[in-house]
Symmetry: C2
Subunit: 441 residues, 2 copies
């Protein structure tokens, strides 16, 4: 795999050189008047508020639809990096041309049923095949001895897992915990219907009740990107592993995940969030059956159209890995996206250095079996801390600079932190880097 | 619209003639040995059990995948009409050829967002346009002053409606009722998570608590096909109208539905169950917002691929209505499907007459604004009653004849009734008619 090392190294040099240039340019801009600094208290006006992720959250503004070029009126534009909308990946899929195009005639996929012989009767067989193949190619999960359950995104599978794992006849709902900072939607999803089956019980690190519990282990973690294991770690605990970000572009693939219940999604692996497709690998057949039952009651199955499309996309990802460097695929999907994430994280660290008032997590390199190399992490979100003493609320502070992020309190953590999406389109990301680098205390 | 009357009349004569032939053939078969009668106690062996609609329900067997021709070993085949799988419609969509084919390149529809300016930010604008257009063409619902909320099938919208309409801070969950026989999934969907917001409270006709309630009004009703209105009909009640079957092929369109909250689905209107797409027309903006919030927490939106496909299908349905008799469309989608349902109901009533031990609901004709004619109802399900005194469980009785149906008890009603899907493929339906007509007490 020497050629991989070579490709990575060349790209790294290129990125370092690029970062140096950007850094110098940004410093020059900064010294010539710091146009953004004067606006830091400006109100963010005329934003269209969305209810996602929270109807009541003022941070949930729409991504700007008009996209003025950087340097013109980019300074007026609201940069929305609150959501993890993975539009960065459009670039790769445009390059692959017709390979991932699907054609569905009007009379196809009309039945509720996809595979009446499968326990998960609404799982498209071709999608199941491509899931198994991709995990084998990437080496990030054991699929042998697992039941595959498809869901309308991994959100639905998370809810299905809670339903499946909660005791039926307990007098009290089971506690659901996750170590802070945890994914901001876990509490509201768990308690949405005030369920008698399960209830949100907060930070796993301080959970000390002597009773059964469900622990959500997100690894690499959303929002901070660190590799995680169970934090409670005692008997009576049931684990759900959310491995949405356990893909080579974000984190070294150290070994195939071998858990009881693991969740994945196309939104973060290939960038197809609009499909709303996720999958679970489930060891226990009774748990799988109950998850399937939940999805029946919730949505009577999962869009066949999106499953067929997801199957095609996963197929091309696997093909691109197996045929990288050949006539069909210049590079694999993961080489492309890993290089892009490396570039972005290099630019972000430069911008943070340039500004001088923020800090970012530091990740130790680890061996990645997929790239056969020692590599650092470059998460889908940046977990940025504002190091200025008199700034207690970093989300509010950045909002003053028209950068919309999700504050630490949503993740059960200090409001000095914010989560920032690293997966937006290039133009938005570059505008963000430019603006961030100019922020002073 | 005289040509419509003419077309309907010609088809009616054809169907009557066909029914007479079938009736005579069936009588001949019956007199020549009644091969089925001897098998009526035979066990249904080697069936693949599905968890849909209920993991514990033995009635939920898979539709047969092998399809032997009628008259050969059709007698051995299990006929599964438990689900309302609308595969009957494949025939029409095959006829329309490429008109409803969609092509989606790999880089399209990647974002979570469909329309950031819309309250329902995950609703594809083209799908919204085609919904409004189709309701105008058919005349079955008022869309002015309504918010459209898209859902992963109308199941998800039903759950979203319960969430949106349940009081936030009540000490007890609100009662959810529907007049029996009611849709068999309402109780388990309502109580799936033992919610503190809402609880199933059974038959609306006997609900007498002096407290707020949510009443589900399904019209035409699933399972019995009758047009329905609120049964409780007193103050404090909140109504949800499930109009999945309020389309011209099933029931006369008497006036545009003008309710506070109305649910529709492509599964039953066009037959595309595999898409998992439904929509709600919602008058109150706050209710719409809460439904959207539920769908965010449940699945973070709805498959874009299926919405785009649904938009194309609805467009062709409207086109077929507006251009029926022209070079592009020999007949409208609703003329085709109405004629098919007329044929099927005629055959079913003949078979029931032939057998002599069952009865079916009788529907009074009413004026249909769409066809501009007085027409009867021909529901998507037959609500069949076994009139034999010593048969208390019709589902069990028909299972002995290898006909899988859903028994009355699932609908909060007498087990002497069963619900039978009228929307299966032609071959399955014909086999069912043949077998039913031969059943004797």
């Amino acid at each position: 795999m020497a050629w991989i090392v070579e490709v990575v190294s060349v790209r790294h040099f290129f990125v370092l050189s690029l970062a140096l240039n950007v850094s110098l340019i940004l410093r020059a801009i900064s010294q010539n008047g710091a146009p953004m600094a004067a606006q830091k208290e400006a109100k963010v006006a005329q934003m269209t508020f969305l209810s996602f992720p929270s109807l009541s959250s003022p941070s949930a503004a729409a991504p700007a639809t008009a996209t003025p070029p950087l340097g013109e009126n980019g300074g007026e534009r609201v940069i929305n990096l609150d959501h993890g909308d993975p539009t960065m990946y459009e670039q790769y899929w445009k390059q692959t041309g017709d390979k991932t195009t699907i054609v569905i005639p009007g009379w196809q996929s009309m039945s509720y049923f996809s595979d009446v012989k499968n326990l998960c009767w609404f799982l498209e067989p071709e999608f199941a095949r491509q899931i198994v193949r991709l995990h084998k190619v990437v080496g990030n999960a054991v699929t042998e001895g697992r039941h595959i359950v498809v869901g309308t995104g991994s959100s639905q599978l998370f809810l299905a897992a809670l339903y499946a794992l909660s005791p039926r006849d307990a007098s009290n709902p089971i506690s659901v915990v996750s170590a802070a900072p945890y994914y901001s939607s876990y509490p509201s999803m768990t308690d949405c219907l005030k369920s008698g089956l399960h209830k949100w019980a907060g930070d796993a690190k301080i959970f000390d009740k002597r009773e059964p519990y469900i622990e959500l282990v997100t690894s690499p973690n959303n929002p901070d990107g660190f590799v995680r294991h169970s934090m409670v770690n005692r008997s009576g605990g049931i684990l759900v592993h959310d491995l949405a970000y356990y893909w080579p572009q974000y984190t070294p693939i150290s070994s195939p995940a071998d858990n009881d219940l693991t969740l994945f999604t196309v939104s973060k692996s290939t960038g197809h969030a609009g499909m709303r497709i996720g999958w679970a690998l489930v060891k226990d057949v009774e748990v799988a059956k109950r998850m399937i039952k939940f999805i029946e009651l919730n949505t009577i199955g999962v869009s066949k159209d999106s499953q067929l499309r997801a199957a095609k996309v996963l197929e091309v990802v696997s093909d691109s890995c197996e045929q990288a460097g050949g006539s069909e695929y210049a590079e694999s999907f993961f080489h492309f996206s890993h290089a892009l994430m490396t570039e972005r994280w290099t630019l972000l660290r430069e911008a943070v250095k340039c500004s001088g008032i923020f800090s970012l997590p530091k990740f130790s390199p680890a061996h990645c079996n997929f790239f056969d190399n020692n590599l650092g992490s470059q998460p889908a979100f940046a977990w940025l801390k504002c190091e200025v003493d008199d700034v207690d609320d970093c989300e509010h502070f950045l909002r003053g600079h028209k950068i919309l992020t999700r504050g630490g309190k949503h993740f059960g953590f200090s409001p000095k932190y914010v989560r920032i999406s690293m997966l937006d389109r290039e133009e938005t990301f570059n505008l963000f880097i430019e603006r961030l680098s100019q922020i002073r205390s």
